[in-house]
């Protein structure tokens, strides 16, 4: 009897339990779409002038694709220009733009309005129209300001290369088992250090059939990190250092020129 109980418990431990987990794993939906971003970390060092990001990945029966790059939304304060006395253009007052990302880029395989339904676009916040719907503008008194400023906000951000919409830039390649995609784009040096999300949407009949997410980290390193930390954490020392080095440089060149002048006589 004892032997029978031993056999049953061994059967449960060695066969049933592992079998259950193997079965569970096999029944889980297979992640068809994957995404990889190179480089995943961008070092902002002394010679930094932006970077080039390459997004690649594979998926089964890929139709149209959309890639969205953004960071968490935050509030931005900007001054607005207006005419004073009907003649002079001046920075007149402050506007606070609420709930907008610092970086917002959308890339796709084709024209957005042809590959994605309005409902999905709105749900996922793809495209400027939908992004701006959730935005709010307040004036210096805290009252809601005219939405017309959002257009100017977009112009400024596009000029800074922080907001981009580029349609037809993702390249797809058909494969035997899986299709692959590739996108290369310039990462602007104007983008502040921080974490950015890169999300790919696979689309079918205007709706999302699959999605995958990757992220990149932009970090200050080396001398850039040291200088910015010193300016923030040891402001007095930083100010004194800036003065002393400027004085020393000015006087050193003065002495060099003096020596040069003496040599000439």
């Amino acid at each position: 009897m004892k032997n029978f109980q031993r056999y049953v418990s061994r059967f449960i431990i060695r066969i049933i339990i592992p079998g259950f987990f193997i079965g569970l794993f096999l029944t889980l939906p297979v992640k068809a779409l994957n995404i990889k971003v190179v480089p995943a970390e961008i070092s902002v060092n002394f010679g930094y002038h932006g970077s080039t990001l390459t997004v690649t990945g594979q998926g089964k029966d890929l139709n149209d694709l959309v890639i969205k790059v953004s960071n968490p939304s935050h509030d931005v304060e900007l001054k607005y220009m207006d005419k004073v006395g009907g003649i002079f253009w001046m920075k007149k007052g402050m506007l606070k733009f609420l709930n907008l990302p610092g970086v917002y880029m959308v890339f796709s395989t084709a024209q957005l309005n042809k590959i994605i339904s309005d409902k999905t676009r709105l749900e996922q916040g793809i495209g400027y129209e939908d992004l701006l719907k959730s935005a709010k503008i307040l004036d210096s008194q805290g009252k809601e300001a005219d939405k017309k400023w959002l257009k100017d906000f977009l112009s400024l951000k596009e000029h800074e290369k922080l907001y981009i919409i580029e349609e037809g830039t993702i390249k797809k390649t058909k494969g035997q088992a899986e299709d692959s995609f590739q996108l290369s784009f310039k990462w602007p040096y104007q983008a502040a250090p921080g974490k950015y999300e890169i999300k790919i949407y696979a689309l079918k009949d205007g709706n999302i059939s699959d999605s995958a997410t990757a992220s990149i980290q932009v970090t200050r390193t080396g001398l850039v990190a040291a200088v910015s930390e010193m300016a923030r954490d040891h402001a007095a020392l930083y100010g004194l250092m800036a003065i002393v080095i400027a004085l020393a440089a000015g006087l050193l060149v003065g002495v060099i020129f003096k020596k040069g002048g003496e040599g000439g006589h």
Binding site: M81, I245, K258
Partner: protein, 310 residues
Amino acid sequence: MYIYLPIALTSVNFLVVTGLGLAVGLLSGLFGVGGGFLMTPLLMMIGIPPTIAAATDANQIVAASASGSFAHWRLGNVDFKMGLFLLVGGFAGGAGGVQLIKFLRAQGGADFLIKMTYVVMLGLVGSFMFIESLHALRKSKKTASQKDTTSHVTEKKKKGLLASLPLQVYFDKSKVTHSAIIPMVLGIFVGVLAAVMGVGGGFLMVPVMIYLLRMPMHVVVGTSLFQILFTCIEVTFLQAYSNHTVDFTLALLLLVGSVFGAQIGTVLGRKLKGDQLKIMLAVIVLAVTVKIVLELVLQPSFMLALSGGH
């Protein structure tokens, strides 16, 4: 070759920035101006945020004016006594000006006042210097003896009122006698304007020394640089400490160009006549005035802008 600026959070071309430093340093050595009224708008044009452009500019002027002051001191062109009186007034005026601009910003409409001060002051100074120098250049073609007699008579008339003031001091380097109150009051006036306009005040101090204090041109340049050096040391420290807006990397790049520019300017200045120097400075000041007027009346390309600056 690009360099990333840790405080401005932007990337700039090394050659463009050092080139700007060289050009403005050249003006500094030539005319005794810090170049703030030129450098700050130029930095903004290459994408530096306004507040950082203004603060960093003060830092690089420390280097340029130290280099220029040293060169002029060697040539015996610095009137330390006069510089000290101007500096005392300038510090007091600068502190008062900072408070004035704080008050105006709180009330709103400070930007309008700043812009209009720029246009009026630059326009007046530039036009006056231009006309006066042109007049002097034309006069110099006539006989020298005739000119000397006329200027002597005018000088005596103008000195009448100023000579009646107390605390008369002889400034041996400038070879003029003034009441100590005059340079201090002028220093306060320039200090207030400099704080309101966010510049070192050299372009205002130079005409003040030439036309009101009647100092010789070569001493004016050296003394102005000496005064600017201390004003900008104060501004750099305050900006770095209170606002964290001094980009030391950018200042280093600018000063690489400006310290050499200041030396070249000093040497070049010795080869030019005083009136030629004045007319050149007048043209530059008027050109900046025209640029500001155009900015004021033409519709800007962007209706939104970062806060700070002018």
